[in-house]
């Protein structure tokens, strides 16, 4: 790995134009886990990868949209799993760089009615395919039981456990009450990586 692909906390905060405490909070909540070194011992410091920078940028935007950290942690898990799968299918695929290319499709996170989270993927100007949804309520329950009483086990509705094919996407398309959208592709393109 090139030296310029490792970022200290100070450098990351500078590139993302945010105070360091916001990044530390996301690390302590284990939403973003430093790829190249954690602040686990005396004198050790966090070191972040290019992927971590994308994770921070997405997480910060979602926090600005008032999404709870528990939900952000789950969404960043999906991004990691998405990348891991594509590394097998498309050699050389890596986040955020592969999303910065001119041919990269638009990957979006959609929060429908403040209750359910979806991902969408498509080319601009074309109808995107929708994947999800992840209900927010069980994530919040899980967060409430973290480190406290109870097993912390979350039961999702059957339709949700069975995956995206069973989800009624028309509820999203119709936007019964409202929705928030965040383009991960746009965030990746906007990252100040190579200064």
């Amino acid at each position: 790995m090139r030296k310029e692909d490792r970022f200290t906390l100070t450098e990351t905060a500078r590139r993302l134009r945010v105070p360091q405490h916001r990044l530390i909070h996301l690390c302590e909540k284990e939403a973003v886990i430093p790829d190249l070194g954690d602040a686990s011992g005396r004198g050790s410091s966090r070191l972040f990868s290019r992927r971590n920078l994308l994770e921070f940028a997405v997480a910060l935007r979602l926090r600005d949209m008032m999404l709870p950290v528990a939900a952000i942690r789950a969404l960043l898990y999906v991004l990691r799993a998405f990348e891991a799968r594509l590394e097998q299918d498309l050699p050389g695929f890596a986040l955020p760089d592969s999303l910065r290319g001119p041919r990269a499709p638009d990957l979006r996170i959609v929060v429908a009615d403040g209750r359910t989270i979806f991902f969408s993927l498509g080319r601009s100007g074309e109808k995107a395919k929708v994947f999800g949804g992840i209900p927010l309520a069980p994530l919040m329950e899980k967060e409430a039981t973290r480190g406290g009483a109870g097993s912390g086990r979350v039961r999702f509705p059957k339709a949700v456990r069975q995956g995206h094919r069973t989800i009624r996407v028309e509820a999203l398309e119709g936007g019964r009450f409202g929705r928030l959208e965040l383009s991960v592709t746009a965030i990746a393109r906007d990252l100040a990586l190579d200064e």
């Binding site: 190249l36 799993a81 998405f82 041919r103 973290r146 995206h164």
Partner: protein
Amino acid sequence: MLQGKSAAASAKRAEARESNLDEGHRELLDHIAVGLAEEYVRLMEAAAENEARCAKTRPMAPPQNAGGGR
């Protein structure tokens, strides 16, 4: 050696993140990630095919000075 240590540490950190997720929850998230990855591959292949088709049908541009410039 250093690379091996780094990979092990990275795996440990990924494990830590996963331990925060319920099993049923992780199953759903993995399922979404696989669906997204398959769609991504399909879109990239379609884009490559489209580009190849356009390149074949695109007429050759005439040389800039064709037509007898001075």
